[in-house]
């Protein structure tokens, strides 16, 4: 199959369809508008559901309802919009329902700006909803990888009965790249959705979808069940890539667009005689702590780079556990760092060490 040129946001829409999406619910916000624009045409033409809700809060609760009926459903938004959805996301995890949430990050806080950013790492991995819950978060670095992950994400969500978030920055949404839409995805055994509230003629007993558990012992048991599930996610779904680690003097940690800029910086640094490795987390939750075991013991330090002022940095510090000096370089507010800035950040590493 020959490659086609696609805009990131449109590719997200099409990949969701290829992943079996039955319904989309959303509310417009830049820089992700091409996702609903694309799906508003495609879903209707293919007898599927597309709803532009009255707000982000309404959209995520429509996702809650339709997911409860056993359908493959999604929403997409950008930073302040994802903030509004946090309550619904917590309810969906509590009720153990699968769904796909696409978050296309822009600069914050507040309304912020519309240029690309990675300042929603905390929002994605820690969440703003209540309770002991996790969302499975993947952060692809190319449009191709975005397509491949989105195609698989409904299966992952169904398998664990938990929301999957695909987190990209606005640049990945807005730019166009050559992609292959037909890369095969991993096949999973998916149990039937016998829990779905899709009418008494489809299930024997009464099915209830709820996140309410008044009895504290029952609620603790429910939380322990969720935790066991999250342990399985950590064991089976942690994803990362390690590059050029063998002879590395320094190791950079970067994800998404930032990791591509770092890849180019590694080439420049190599020409300057500085060997630098890269740890690229693909799953942000679960964070790939085991990648840090591949770091050679004699390196001079780890540099965490982000298009934010240091959020993944927390996870890097936890994974490093005090072993190596850790430095940080980041731009924020919609500024995309140049390759040369990453090169300089390594060159003046000692100045950037996080005490």
């Amino acid at each position: 199959m020959p490659k086609v040129l696609m805009k990131g946001n449109e590719a997200i829409g099409l990949a969701a369809v290829l992943g079996g999406c039955d319904a989309f619910y959303g509310y417009p916000i830049t820089p992700q508008n091409e996702i609903p624009e694309y799906l508003s045409k495609y879903m209707i033409e293919h007898n599927k559901v597309f709803v532009q809700a009255e707000s982000e809060v309404a959209a995520i609760n429509m996702v809650y309802g339709a997911a409860g009926a056993g359908k493959r459903v999604m929403t997409s938004s950008s930073s302040p919009g994802i903030a509004l959805k946090q309550e619904g996301i917590s309810y969906i995890t509590g009720a153990e329902l699968p769904c796909l949430i696409v978050s296309v990050m822009r600069g914050g806080p507040g309304l912020g700006g519309i240029q690309p950013s990675q300042a929603d790492y905390y929002q994605a991995t820690r969440g703003g909803g209540n309770g002991d819950y996790h969302v499975i978060v993947f952060a692809p670095e190319t449009i191709q990888e975005t397509i491949d992950i989105i195609k698989e994400s409904f299966d992952i969500a169904d398998y664990y009965r938990n929301p999957v978030m695909v987190l990209v920055d606005g640049l990945l949404g807005q730019m166009m790249e050559s992609v292959d839409l037909n890369k095969p995805i991993k096949k999973r055994f998916l149990p039937p959705k016998d829990w779905a509230t899709n009418g008494m003629k489809n299930h024997s007993g009464r099915n209830v979808v709820s996140s309410l558990n008044i009895d504290p012992q029952k609620l603790e048991n429910h939380n322990l069940k969720l935790q066991a599930k999250y342990q399985n996610v950590i064991k089976n779904e942690t994803r990362f890539e390690c590059i050029n680690m063998e002879k590395a003097e320094y190791v950079i940690v970067a994800y998404g667009t930032m990791s591509r800029i770092v890849r180019s910086a590694l080439e420049v640094l190599k020409e300057k005689g500085i060997n630098v490795g890269l740890i690229r987390p693909i799953s942000l939750w679960p964070f790939p702590k085991e990648a840090f075991k591949q770091i050679p013991s004699n390196i001079k330090g780890i540099l965490c780079t982000e298009m934010s002022l240091g959020q993944m940095l927390d996870d890097v510090l936890i994974a490093n556990n005090g072993k190596h000096p850790v430095g940080f370089f980041g731009r924020t507010g919609g500024m995309i760092p140049e390759v040369e800035e990453v090169v300089r950040a390594i060159e003046r590493f000692q100045e950037t060490v996080v005490k």
Binding site: P2, K3, V4, L5, I114, T142, L171, Q174, M175, M176, E177, S178, T257, R260, I261, R263, S264, A265, E267, I336, E338, V339, E340
Partner: protein, 187 residues
């Protein structure tokens, strides 16, 4: 062609800067190379400043952004001034000298004025200045064959604007022609 070519195209919103860039990225894809197009514009569109970055590469593309490009296509004066110092040594700049009267010199970079507004007006449509510039670029860079570009044009314009293909092809040819004649003068 080098392993990778970085091209920056800049001008006012409405001059067709984005479309010219997309055509190059589509052409790369259809030639089984890797193409990347990334836009940069403010909330304003028509009349505001707009630029796009295109990468055509034999290998997978790492950084989607670049500080310096091999080639710059500047559709107006502010774009030329903003980006002329961000062209690599040995690269070239094509600028719209219908709108820029000053002569521009950049050390180590070939700078060629192309009167794209005048050429487009001669063809009867100011709207095809982007295709005139694209034609000049294709001739100067030798990056893609006409057959590829014509295929891409038909795809991008679609059925609804199929009648526009002919004019666009003419504009590309006029741009190519300008560069060919330039070559003769220098010889």
């Amino acid at each position: 062609m080098n392993d990778a070519v970085n091209i920056r195209i800049a001008g006012f919103g409405g001059q067709g800067v984005m479309m010219a860039g997309q055509i190059l990225a589509y052409a790369a894809t259809s030639e089984d190379l890797n193409g990347l197009w990334s836009p940069s514009y403010g909330p304003e569109t028509r009349g505001g400043t707009a630029n796009c970055a295109v990468i055509v590469s034999k290998k997978p593309i790492n950084s989607p952004v670049f500080l310096k490009s091999h080639h710059l296509l500047a559709f107006n004066y502010p774009s030329l001034i903003k980006f002329m110092d961000r062209v690599k040594q040995g690269g070239f700049i094509l600028y719209n000298n219908s709108l820029v009267s000053e002569t521009v010199l950049v050390e180590g970079v070939e700078v060629i004025g192309v009167p794209i507004n005048d050429i487009a007006l001669e063809l009867g449509s100011i709207q095809v200045i982007n295709m005139v510039m694209l034609g000049a670029y294709l001739e100067k860079s030798k990056i893609f064959e006409d057959s590829t570009i014509h295929k891409v044009l038909a795809y991008v314009l679609g059925e609804r604007k199929a009648h526009m293909v002919e004019l666009n092809v003419k504009a590309i040819e006029a741009g190519r022609d300008f560069i060919r004649k330039q070559g003769l003068i220098h010889a």
